[in-house]
Every structure is written in C-alpha cells, then in structure tokens.
Symmetry: C2
Amino acid sequence: MPSLPDRLAGIVGAPHVLTDAGTLAGYLTDWTGRWTGAADAVVRPRTTDEVAAVVTLCAAEGISLCVQGGNTGLVGGSIPPAAGDAPTRLTILLSTARMTGLDDVDVIGRSVGAQAGATLDAVDRHAAAHGLRFGVDLAARESATAGGVVATNAGGIRMIRHGNTRSQVLGIEAVLADGRILRRWSPLIKDNVGYDLPGLLTGSEGTLAVITKVLFSLVTPPEATTVAVVALDRVAAATELIAAASRRGLVVEAAEIMTEAGVDLVHAHGARRPVAQPAPFEFVFEVSGAGAVDEELLAAIEGIDGVLDAVAEPGPAQALWAARENHTEAIARSTTTPVVKLDVSVPIRALPEAFDRLHAVPGDLGVECRPILFGHVGDGNIHANYLDVPAADVHRVTEAVFAVVTDLGGSISAEHGIGRAKAAWIRLGRSDVDIDLMRTLKTALDPHGLLNPGVLFG
Amino acid sequence: MPSLPDRLAGIVGAPHVLTDAGTLAGYLTDWTGRWTGAADAVVRPRTTDEVAAVVTLCAAEGISLCVQGGNTGLVGGSIPPAAGDAPTRLTILLSTARMTGLDDVDVIGRSVGAQAGATLDAVDRHAAAHGLRFGVDLAARESATAGGVVATNAGGIRMIRHGNTRSQVLGIEAVLADGRILRRWSPLIKDNVGYDLPGLLTGSEGTLAVITKVLFSLVTPPEATTVAVVALDRVAAATELIAAASRRGLVVEAAEIMTEAGVDLVHAHGARRPVAQPAPFEFVFEVSGAGAVDEELLAAIEGIDGVLDAVAEPGPAQALWAARENHTEAIARSTTTPVVKLDVSVPIRALPEAFDRLHAVPGDLGVECRPILFGHVGDGNIHANYLDVPAADVHRVTEAVFAVVTDLGGSISAEHGIGRAKAAWIRLGRSDVDIDLMRTLKTALDPHGLLNPGVLFG
C-alpha cells in the first residue's frame, strides 16, 4: 500500500503535497499566533474533483481533514488540533490556495462564481471591472478567501448595507464527508425548493462539508457616497446618527466606531488626524443617496447631541477611512505578545453600557493590560482587543468579557465564528436543545467526525 | 385508554379539539380549492407548551401532524394527505389560529416576537404603532400568518427592498419532532454561534419542526415614497428602469409587473385605470430616497425605451396600487374552476423570454385557457395563472410551464414552496445529491416521518 503522501500525490500531483516540517509550519500556525496544530500533510488541490477524491480517501481511511483558506481567521478554525489534542488518527490540512478561479461575471443577474480560494479582493476587482461590487468587505480582503468568509459567515464593513455573507450566497458547491459533490447553483433571487443547504453550510466552519465554490450575488455600488469622520463624546450619538440619516432617506453604507486609545495607536504610526482634537470616540460614517447627500448628512449630524467635530468629503475618502483600515495592524504592531481578540455583539440599546463595561474589565480584574475596542456600531458588533495580557490571565479576561456580553443579552461570537477559541464557551450562547440539534446535524452529515474535529463543539 | 380527542382535550381543553366532520371540512380544503385532506382531529393549542405536549403525544403514538396557519398557502402545504393517500395512521391538523400573541416591540433593536398564528397585518400594525414596519408584505396579509410565511420563506411585495422572510428572522422557537422545545432567541444582528437553525427551519414547510414563535426584525419605513404606474410595451423596460433608478441613488421599495389581460380583469370590476390607455404591461414602481424623489424618478423614467405613459404620486398612493392589490382576487372572481397557479422564477435576463413563452403555453399545447401572468419583476418572479384549464389538461399545462422555466435556468418554486403541489417535480430543481442530503436532514430531525408527510418529498 502506498503511503498517504503518495496516495495524495496520485490525486493532486506530487508538487502539491507538502510534508516537510518547515513548510508545514507556515500552515499550522494562525495569523494571531495563538493557535498551532499538527498535520501529516498539506494537500493543495486545484479542482472540485480533486477535493472530492481527497475527501473520499479520507472517508475510506478515517483521516481527519481541516480546510484552510487565507489563514486569516481569528478563532483558530482553520488550524488542526495540536499533536497532544488530536484524535489518534492521521490528519490532512487541505489548503484552497490553488483554487482561485473566477467565473465570468453575470452582469444582468449580478452574480459571479468563485472558487473557495479566491480572495475577497480578487472577487471584488473582478466585479468592479463590470461596474459591480462584492457586498462583503473586510480589512483582510487581500488574504481572506471566498471559502473562508462563507465558512465563517463573515460580517465586515458593508454588512449594515448588504447583510452578512450568508445573504450574498446564491449557490454553493461543496464536497460532503463521504466524497460526493453537492452543487446547488442557480443565480436566482427566489428559489424556494426545499431546505436552505447553502445557508446551512454558510457559517458551519468546515464541520459539515468542504466548500469548493460559491455563487455570490453582487451589488451595484452607489454613484456617489459621502464619508464623514465624526468626533463623539458618547457611543449613543453614533446609533442616533445612523437612525437620523436613515430617516432622511440616506442609505447607510458603513458605520464604524473607534475609541481614543485605538485612534491614538494609529496616529502614533504617522497618519494625520482628520478631526481637530482627540475625542473619546471617532465614528466613520459612509452614506449614499439621491440628491445632495453631503448636505443631508451634515443636517443629520447637526441634530445629534454628543458631536464634538465632524469632517466630510466625497467617497472613497481614503484619508478618512485610514484610521479604521489600519486599526487591526496598528494594534498588532504595538505589542509583542498575542492579542486577546474577542469578537462579540450586544443589542444596539446596550452598546454604550457594553463599551463602558468592556473598558473596565482590566481594572475590575486587577489585570495590567490595554483594552482597545472598536466595532461595527450599526450591527452591535464590538471587537474587544486586550493588549499585553499576561499569559496567566488570558482565560480570566476572556471569561470576564463573555460574562459582560452574556449579561447584556449579547453573543460571544458576532462575525468571527466559534472555531477552537470559543468552543469551550458555546453553551453561553446556545441552549442544550439547540446544541443537541446542531450535533444531530453534524452526525447526520459527518457521521465519523472527520471534518474539522475540535472546531465548534470542542 | 382515553380516545385521541380526549387525550388532546386534556392538553388544550375540550373546546379546542374539533372532530365534527362539518367543522373539520373548513380546515381540510385549501384556499385555492385544489387540495382536500383528511384528519382525525383539529387541535387548536394556545401556547408553546401545549404544542409540545401535542407533539409529544404524536411522537409516542406515531400520529402524523400537519400544521396550518392562515390556510392561504398556494401549494397544499398545510393540508394533510387525502384519505386514500394517507399512511395508515392517525393524523392531526394543528391549527395555530389561537396562537396570536405579540410581544412588546423593541423599538431600538427594531424587532418583535410573534406567535405563529399572528397575521402579517397584525404584526405590521403592531410595528407601525412604534414607527416601524414588518419587511414582509403580501396581498393575503390579513390571513397569512407569521408561522406560515416562515414555514414557506415567503417573498412578497417588499422582498426587493428587505429580502425574503428568512432574512427577517432573528430568532425562532419551534417544537422538534420528539416534543422538545428549541428556542434560539436573541435580537442580535450578528450572532455567529454555530449552525443557522432558524434559517434551516425557515422554508422547511412544516417537515422539520413545528414553528411556534418567531422573532422578526423590523424595518424603518421611509419618510416619503413615490409610486408610479408606468405603461410599458416590453418587460425589459421594467428591469432597465429598476437599474436606472438604483443608479440615481433611489431605493426601490417595490417593483411589480402586470399584463394587459390581468389589468383588464381588475378594471372589469370597476377600478379606474391610472394610465390613459391599455398597454401590454403595467409596472407599479415604488421608490424612496433623500431629496426630490419624484423628480429623480421621472428623470429615470424618461431615459427608458418602451415607456408608453407614466403617472406618479406620493405614497401610499392606494389608487395606483389598486390594480396589483386586487389582482389575485380579480383572477379568482373571473372563473368558476380552480386556477392553475404556478409560482416560478427565472434569471432576470430571461424575464422577457419567459413572459413570451409562458403566454404561448396554451397555444403550444392546443389547450383552451387564459394565461394571466404577473410578478415581482425585480426578483425574476412570475406568478403564472392559467384560468379555465380543463381538468384533463392541468397536468400538461403544469409540465409545460415547468419545462419552459427549467429550460431558462429558473426555479419551479420562487416563493410559495413545494408543498404537495410540486413534490412530484422536485427533481427539476435539485440534484440527486441535494435531495438525498435534504432527506438525510429530514430523517435526522424527524426519524419517524410524522411531520407533514407528503409535503416536499412527496
């Protein structure tokens, strides 16, 4: 019997089966540096049929499979279990790095098919060449992949306008745990024939099937947008401004909030401040509409208590977006230890209290660390970052954040998923019946538990 | 052992268990008159706990269960199998007619919880009292229920603006086939903790669980809308106008097309024609936006080839909406036999050809009948009605319509679901692997096949 690498080479070609420890290392540690796993081989298929053959081999031999796209996930969902944690069986990491194909854009139907490994940026540029846009956008757009954003049901900057990734998925192609290929693929806006399998696979984090290709809907970008950076003394002013702009008929394209500490980090690296003075909060607000959008926006801003200053200019206004675009990188550069990054959401009404209580977590615990909060304020989504947390206190900080969020009726995962990072806490967000039903689905689709073991259910 | 009705009466109270044949008849024939089923009892619970007790009884005794909301479905999905078709076991029809409770509106979070039997109109009026709106709207709003629109993933008039029902479902409460209560209930816009169970149950047509309550998101209605009725000589002009209006920054609130034959039926019953002359197509187009919406809309209309006439006025403009609102009723009143009603969708690019070919079906088959087509043109959704089809030709007309739609890459069910009516044709829309996976899910959630037998899979 040939070895596992030889059998994989027979499917994808020898150059695309990696077993050298040094090469594997780059695949087996995640972007945050918090998760390192073990695998017997990395396999890089090019086609859906190759994926199906790999999965069929795994099914026959009881080999575990972890799928990895851009490796920019933030919850360890595309890293296999560590050697000590792994079940005693072979494990493959399947990289979609070579599956970057894009179909022709359907301009009238506003859709495009993308292989799982195509980056968001590639999908968006492909759409832009036809006057369209991909409705999902996030700062890691040059590395995050189509398969990855679907597997995690990513949110991002444009979710307030176009909905989550799930709502952009018109069709899906995936390899089931037994190697069969599911293809539900029609560019129809309405297609009520049975269960929403694309929606079920979206957000399933690689635990139900291997997503190989996605049919995305595309959006028509507005002809003109106005971007404002608004300095605020309170969080509530941002949500009030969103409501006021909507009432005036403006379309909210993005609504991002940052705190003084985070904005200061960005400016420490040289970017010019768009507003005159540092403020407790900076709000990046992009709107579109018919008519005099800038005037309508300024009129809306004038009516809001808590506005300290505002500057606006026509989109894309990259200078106004710079502080938000560079936020995650500025945070990463300002420390040498892994950042505790917790992506959470709360009801809109609870946002002000959530900011206060999440800022207070280090003081409450007596842990020396720096909280940097920012988020998609229109969605109730806060990215809570804690820098320089002593290793011994990571668990305590995490638990304290989840306690605040749970107390406020929020979610321990807004848009990054559960992965390995939050699997131990899934019961904070779901009832026993709910988790049992999810396990029933997992068992029905992957009876031998080969797909992404350790993710989601722990 | 007490009888089945007595045991049900022990759960819901004797007045709420119906067994009299005359009373049952009203529940056992659908609105279209095409479907009649058989049941041993109708049970009308008030609470989720009562539903759970009923389902637990069914599970213990192997009793089939069909759930019925407003009984306005168009594919027989809330009618149990006919006596001859039924499996040889007892069958209960569970009516949600008494489950009409509405929670307080969460104004800031823009959401509301509704029991399954609350009508769309009741949900919407409840929301309107707080300046909000329910994003799902359809002509049968006074009888269609929250549970029904969720079970069928209804589309409707506002889908082009707010998405399908699935995208309005923030949370769900349902009784599983073994009687346990699933409750995923949080008013969060982002909540990526595991599989999308609300999305899976939405559109499952009563085959996976009994939906008892839904947490809907609500939308902020625009402050001002403009409604136009545009007379057109071609379908493509409508899709071009939608695109032109969007490019100008207008928000499309509704986009409904009707044909001359259908508009004539409405006017035969007395309504005044808004446009000067009969035209091949009448397009009802509602838009909103900031600024001078009416001027922008008229400018958009001016640039479109194929426009014969147009009238516009500020919303709600009930007179301009009247022909569309009264369409289904006018069709029903103009014939004495059941109408062959086929809800289909095609890619947007194929809409003009679809109208032509669906109009030609009677001539192609040599069947004497009257086609009346109308639809939600922005979604590619056509409601194909054929009036006065001889009973012997119903199957042929249906097959011919599905052949056209399939040939154009469309769907045999756009927004009404599969129900009983289309179960025999499900393979036209889904692959073998897809159907097998759906059956796997059905078996996992309802291993004894008690929930809505005969629906979806036939």
